[in-house]
Symmetry: C2
Subunit: 213 residues, 2 copies
DNA sequence: TCCTGTGAAACGGTTCACAGCC
DNA sequence: GGCTGTGAACCGTTTCACAGGA
């Protein structure tokens, strides 16, 4: 693989969509697909599809399109889906529980190898094959189970401290559900899921549209 | 309010962060704040704060900064948080259940007024004051309860059809948790929460960083 | 002919720098 | 002097348009 320059975040998100579309095409036993069709299924434009893919190489055949199976394979490679990832879930509340059972994680290669919580009532409970452990063991769990990704599904007050500890223990990727901006070293990647913020974006949009009349 | 031009989505998201920061400042009884301080707490730059706010008017005093209480009030106004929103939750699975109990929704003015599901085992169950209703009643529920926002927490196969029906029933905002791109008329606003995609962005980032050595 | 891959142009958002007001 | 508000410069992403290979 050539030394990749900086790839826009937006490109990565679209690549995920393309892969999803390709998997549907695979199940329909389509063998080739054009940038045009991929664009429609991914919710973007043909030029955008080609530009996105060009960051990573030339996977298509001129005049013909892309091989569905081959492109899907390359995209899985790009997104790092060729291996299984070890996820440590911190927070066994409602959100944590929903994520633990979320079927698409396992399907995509993300295995939740441990669950931690601070609530003595929850500690020791078994969720399937996983026993809930005290949050004090975070460092131990990360290092002994070789966790790649930490999911924080905890109250906002607790998030920064837990993030610091996870980073210290060697984690380089955090998916944060707590509605706070985390401060982490530059080499650590954080993505945010802020549920209230998404609703606020909607109520803003409705309010705006309404006031235009 | 002047007829607002197009406001970048990113600005709205930052405004949400500013409001969160202002509320913390309010609780600490701070009275004024500079764009510089707001930027630090919101995870951006001072110039960006000023630019973001300038889309909506001039709320600060030169040489002095912004009044915390006044700015918070204006931002609530902008985000449409001055009223309560009526949310219809479709899907009473793990995710739906977590969202229903999510405390920050109510706190911000989003009330879940109805829950629907297609599973006969769930229909009729009571979640607090709300009884789970069959998904067939979607249109009825939206019109009788005057739903403003629909949250889709359903399997991907079901999402498009439910979105169509919700739009038909008059909903103008959808928060979609199903991992599919929805096709809706331009005047309907959709925001996506795609959990797998967030993890994929992380595994891509880790893979990239690793391969650079 | 068809469709990809890619420089070049266009666009939009961010950053800069400073005028203007407290 | 201090800090906001904003046009202008900058920069990264998207779109265009076409060269080039199946």
């Amino acid at each position: 693989m050539p030394v990749t320059r900086h790839i826009p975040e937006s490109t990565i998100r679209r690549i995920s969509h393309y892969l999803r579309a390709l998997e549907i095409l695979e199940s329909q036993e389509a063998t080739t697909v054009s940038s045009e069709e991929l664009a429609q299924r991914g919710g973007t434009t043909a030029a955008q599809v080609r530009k996105d893919l060009s960051h990573f190489g030339s996977f298509g055949k001129r005049g013909l399109g892309y091989s569905v199976a081959e492109l899907a394979d390359r995209l899985r490679d790009i997104l790092g889906l060729k291996c299984r990832w070890r996820v440590v879930l911190v927070g066994a509340g409602r959100i944590g529980s929903a994520l633990f059972e979320y079927p698409y994680f396992v399907q995509r290669g993300y295995d939740c190898v441990a669950v931690l919580d601070s609530d003595p009532e929850k500690i020791g409970m078994s969720w399937g094959p996983v026993r809930i452990r005290p949050v004090e063991e975070l460092e131990l769990v990360i290092s002994s189970l070789k966790g790649d990704i930490v999911i924080l599904a905890v109250p906002p007050e607790a998030a920064q401290d837990l993030a610091d500890r996870a980073v210290e223990a060697g984690v380089r990727a955090i998916l944060n559900f707590a509605p706070v901006q985390l401060r982490v070293p530059a080499e650590v990647h954080v993505t945010y899921v802020n549920l209230v913020l998404e609703l606020e974006a909607l109520s803003f949009a409705i309010t705006q549209a309404g006031s235009r009349t």
